[in-house]
């Protein structure tokens, strides 16, 4: 997983609350065999509307999604996170996230930032008035900054440490690679092998 320290980019204001995972990525996309290629499934139903925020020319290349409360409710599908990442989002801002979605997002390196609704409102107003406005999500300083806005956010220390260092569970385990190698030297020769390598 890529490390997340600080990110600056244009935002897409999504003025909707209770965006559930079925809306983020509909069920029929789950038959796919990769973690890639979910970008076209992201908000599939809404994308049919040319006026939907992601379809607006001025939002192309946006990397920060600013959404209404209770983002990511519904099923546990990790595909919802993959779809947002495949589309190009690095961070999602909301006043409240569904637990499972938040856990999945942090596991995959998508930063989910909880801000008070009044700050979310301010970000909506700013980025709607000025589509070119940039938003900085700074995990080192635990701060979101934009023109006229500076807002601190919380994130538990363990998750922050893992994100700052780009550590997924595998990376954390591999920090103990020496232990694994040492263990391997003790395995008896009668243990089965599937092939000679």
């Amino acid at each position: 997983m890529e490390a997340f320290t600080t990110h600056t980019g244009r935002a897409a204001p999504l003025r909707r609350g209770n965006v559930d995972t079925d809306q983020i990525i509909p069920a029929h996309w789950l038959k796919k065999v990769t973690r890639d290629g979910f970008e076209d499934g992201l908000f599939e139903a809404w994308r049919k509307d040319p006026e939907f925020v992601l379809n607006r020319p001025e939002r192309q290349g946006a990397t920060v999604l600013v959404a209404g409360p209770d983002f990511g409710t519904g099923s546990s599908r990790e595909h919802a996170v993959w779809a947002l990442q495949n589309y190009g989002f690095k961070a999602v801002v909301s006043s409240r996230f569904a637990d499972i979605f938040r856990g999945n997002s942090l596991k995959n390196g998508l930063l989910t930032v909880v801000l008070e609704q009044k700050t979310v409102d301010a970000l909506w107003e700013l980025t709607e008035r000025d589509p070119e406005a940039e938003v900085t999500v700074d995990l080192v300083a635990r701060e979101v900054r934009a023109e006229g806005i500076t807002a601190a956010f919380e994130l538990d220390e363990n998750s922050r440490w893992r994100l700052l260092n780009g550590l997924d569970d595998i990376s954390i385990t591999l920090q103990n690679e020496a232990d694994i190698s040492a263990y391997e030297t003790t395995r008896p020769s009668h243990k089965p092998r599937t092939q000679q390598v």
Binding site: D169, N176, Y183, H190, Q195
Partner: protein
């Protein structure tokens, strides 16, 4: 204090133990199939990682594979894509794969043991809940999710918190015609589908010791249906005899060293389990499910239970809903339930001994009018063995359909499915709503009950056949 079998195997695999962290466990054998591996390989690719131990990893195709016309392209594009992805991933990363058409192809939990890869005292994982099957050899074996599949591919380890242990002691002699399947269905009915949650089950006692390896696998397979992630049986002479001479069994001095180690894999007399259950084998009888979870079962000789008889409100509601879905009446004798389909196969009961047991009953008999019977060997190898013994001819002469190996109607990811409202007697492990096809109704049974049911057209035991021979002893 002594240790249990599970604790011994666990302790032997701890790579790292630290305060406040789960143990890091070494994995001896990682089995892969097409459904739960694609995103894991993709994760490796994205992070530029390789498979750490190709020599401890093996893949086969089972869930999506058709059981007819296996030499033709697979019709369903989604199934085809999943299989093609597995082939591509295995080629790219160097994983040994047994694809459709290969002699070692088959349900992943049949393939591991038959190759001799599943051995006592090993840790075995697979992105599949029925990995518990391998515990029959005294292995610690459990199912994992896709992100854990990736973790094992990359590190050959898993961080795990140690589960508690539960002894299920079965003493005495199983009556004639009562099989391992009846026993495990009775155990699940007794402890419930959540009864094993948080535990590694150890099946022990004189009745278990008398069972063949195939029968032990049937029991361990369904541990997950009792909510346990793993089930184990201590290895003994039966285990060693099964393994001896298999392609991946140790040889020469390695064999001797292995057996010496394997013999230490018994729960110590002074070890303590966190929970204990006792069952008398002599009281058991052929068992079938009437509901929509594997815990909703009863002796074949009894009647569909009355939901009102349940004291627990949620159980009562579950029973009501199950009867409605299953189209059954409270009080109806289970023997009166007519079926359309009989399925013999799956990682629960798709091994050679299961096919022999069913064939012994089908010999010189016919599948009842209006019933279709599917015989799906658990692996291509099992299929070949059956053919060499002439079992396929017995089945075909009886009017049953002899198919190629795979998961097939166990979950209907391939074309083998029940139509809405159709009812099956199935030797598989899950009777969930729609498991064998949308709207399909499943009764879980042993291979012997499946065969007798196919002949009579309603749920039945071999003893019900008017010209009943002695049922095949298992």
């Amino acid at each position: 204090m002594g240790r249990t079998l599970a604790e011994k195997v666990w302790d032997d695999h701890v790579v790292r133990r630290a305060e406040g962290e789960p143990d890091l466990l070494y994995i001896d054998l990682h089995l892969l199939h097409e459904v739960t591996s694609p995103q894991a390989f993709d994760g490796l690719r994205k992070s530029g990682r390789r498979v750490r131990r190709l020599d401890l990893t093996i893949a086969t195709e089972d869930h999506n594979t058709p059981t007819l016309d296996i030499d033709k392209p697979i019709a369903d594009p989604v199934s085809r894509a999943q299989l093609e992805t597995l082939r591509k991933n295995c080629a790219e990363f160097g994983v040994r794969l047994h694809p459709l058409g290969d002699v070692e192809q088959g349900v992943v939990h049949v393939v591991g043991p038959q190759l001799g890869l599943t051995q006592p005292g090993t840790t075995v994982v697979c992105g599949d809940s029925h990995t518990s099957t391998h515990g029959a050899f005294g292995a610690l074996a459990f199912g994992i999710g896709t992100s854990q599949v990736e973790h094992v591919l990359a590190t050959q380890t898993l961080p795990m918190a140690r589960p508690k242990t539960m002894a299920i002691t079965v003493d005495g002699e199983l009556p004639e015609g009562v099989t391992a399947k009846d026993l495990i269905l009775a155990i699940i009915a007794k402890i419930g589908t959540g009864g094993g949650q948080g535990y590694i089950l150890e099946y022990r006692g004189s009745a278990i010791e008398k069972l063949s390896m195939e029968a032990r696998m049937t029991i361990c397979n369904m541990s997950i249906e009792a909510g346990a992630r793993a089930g184990m049986i201590a290895p003994d002479e039966t285990t060693f005899a099964y393994l001896k001479g298999r392609p991946h069994a140790p040889e020469g001095a390695d064999w001797d060293a292995a057996v010496e180690y394997w013999k230490t894999l018994r729960t110590d007399d002074d070890a303590e389990f966190d929970a204990e259950i006792r069952i008398g084998a002599a009281e058991l009888a052929p068992f079938v499910t009437w509901g929509t979870n594997p815990g909703q079962g009863a002796p074949l000789s009894s009647c569909v239970p009355d939901p009102a008889s349940y004291e627990d409100a949620s159980e009562r509601l579950a029973a009501e809903k199950a009867l409605e879905y299953m189209g059954l009446e409270a009080g109806q004798p289970l023997r009166s339930v007519k079926v359309d389909t009989v399925f013999v196969g799956s990682c629960t009961n798709g091994r050679i001994e299961d096919l022999r047991a069913a064939a012994a009953i089908m010999k010189d008999r016919k599948v009842a009018d209006g019933v279709r019977m599917l015989i799906v060997p658990g692996s291509a190898r099992v299929g070949l063995q059956a053919v060499s013994e002439g079992l396929d001819v017995v089945f075909k002469e009886a009017g049953a359909e002899w198919r190629h190996a795979g998961c097939s109607m166990c979950l209907g990811m391939n074309p083998d499915q029940l139509a809405p409202g159709e009812r099956s007697a199935s030797t598989s492990n899950r009777n969930f709503e729609g498991r064998q096809g949308k709207g399909g109704r499943t009764h879980l049974v042993s291979p012997q009950v499946a065969a007798a049911t196919a002949v009579l057209g309603h749920l039945a035991a071999p003893a019900d056949l008017s010209d009943a021979p002695t049922p095949a002893a298992v």
